[in-house]
Symmetry: C3
Subunit: 213 residues, 3 copies
């Protein structure tokens, strides 16, 4: 074990990379809806920081992250603006952004679990906190773009978050080494997500044609 | 008066039945949008527990219900999953689900009023709290399904919630017997809702064709 | 300086006028979606009070404004209902409502900055608080009407809010006279907004046709 400081530093560095990557991919989504520059910046900030904000509002964990560290707003908003300038080159980096997004998912999940564990929440709430942190930003992005959230329709996104959270928190509960379990959980989650992208894995769909609702 | 314990127990039992029914009908809505299994579970949980969560976030009443009782997440998510298996038989139970949904509306309303009254909120906020608890879950469901909320377009849903809340809280304010008023308010609200379904009652629509907004 | 009381009174009077104007224009938007009367009232309340509520929820600043002053719900809901009766005459007042909406934007912005400053928030969060207060109500209105928020697509709305907030809080930070800076910031913001409407100014759009997101 290399000490909590080192893990925390690494996790924080990954967090910063992840929010920048999320803001940049959200900016491309904004560009496909022909939003103006303000919309691009706002959608970038909301997508990158919305999952953590949603978690903190639901858990009553104030002040929110970006209230404590306002430069996150500049970082994500700036990354979204920067995307407008470099958008034409970004398709060449597509695979890197898919990787960064997958890293973001497991990093956000672990951070969300940590927040809930530090508040002594029960197991299920800890897993839910991880999933909300990992996935709610994308749901807000899709809502603001007026589409049914991708999370509800496709991909193993939420599933990866739940698996990562359960491995991490399960290991914690069993008293396994914290740093190793965090690394293992994130590695497995990341692998699962990348395999899901590569082989287009998805959960089965529920198709209902009845007229009752 | 049979004592607060008995009322509370009955109300809680009705609450559990109502969140299961809400999760199951939300699952059918998800099926009509061809969501995947994760989307079905998430939409079930959010629809069933979203109204109470919205109320508690707006009133600053933490921890939220499902944080205190995490098994609500398993119950509603499980009910949504179960719906996938039994969907083909559910149209035969259509009337039962409409009844359960109507019971849910008045039960959620009364619970929402109780929460606000226990926080010493003023009359209008108590009524609003009941309505948010009764109706906001369905609004979130419709937002996530990318449709204008049914609540804004049709049916006496919100109206039933307001009438139920005003009867219940009005009786409380006038010092009438608590249990009797709760029963009377819920019975009248339920009757109004069922009559509205039966005879397709709705509020008048406001149709504006001007070009100003 | 005429004393904080006078400024506060004037700001509060403008606030009341602004929430009424916001509720009335939201009611017209509801009418164009053929919502029923309940939807009109709800959309009026949510649009007029949603920005401040969003701000207070994100900053953990409870109780919310309308919980402390429940008559705001009656005022905005009543204004929305009243709009149904007078809608046919409102196009003649189009310019007045555009002016009132612009006044509302700068008033909400200044109030949002004040709330965050009274909580000792850092500069960026104060500006964000002003912008959320000024703009989030309209975003909620557009979400509930199932359209991509206008804020993200057009007009200098958010920009005006940010400029107003930066002038106001910047002057405050530099120790300039509070009342004068507030007046100057609001006047400049208002002028910018009215010029933007008159000459159809907008931020440049970001148009991205790539297939990556």
């Amino acid at each position: 074990m290399t000490g909590p400081y080192d893990t925390t530093t690494l996790l924080h560095a990954l967090f910063l990379i992840a929010i920048v990557a999320e803001a940049m991919t959200a900016a491309l989504v904004a560009g496909r809806r022909e939003m103006d520059w303000v919309g691009v910046v706002l959608l970038g900030c909301i997508t990158a920081l919305g999952g953590g904000s949603m978690r903190d509002v639901l858990l009553g964990n104030t002040p929110l992250t970006w209230v404590q560290h306002p430069y996150y707003l500049l970082l994500t908003g700036g990354a979204a603006l920067f995307t407008i300038a470099v958008a034409r080159y970004m398709h060449k980096l597509r695979n890197i952004f898919l990787l960064l997004d997958a890293i973001g998912l497991v990093v956000f999940t672990v951070i969300g679990c940590n927040v809930a564990m530090s508040l002594d929440m029960p197991f299920i709430v800890v897993i839910a906190s991880g999933m909300i942190t990992g996935c709610a930003g994308g749901v807000l992005r899709d809502l603001l773009c007026n589409t049914i959230p991708l999370l509800f329709r496709a991909e193993l996104y939420a599933t990866v978050s739940i698996v990562t959270g359960m491995l991490y928190v399960g290991g914690e509960t069993l008293g396994l080494n914290h740093d190793i379990m965090m690394g293992v959980a994130m590695a497995i989650g990341l692998t699962l997500r990348l395999l899901a992208i590569r082989f287009s894995w998805g959960m089965p769909k529920f198709i209902y044609r009845g007229n009752m609702d």
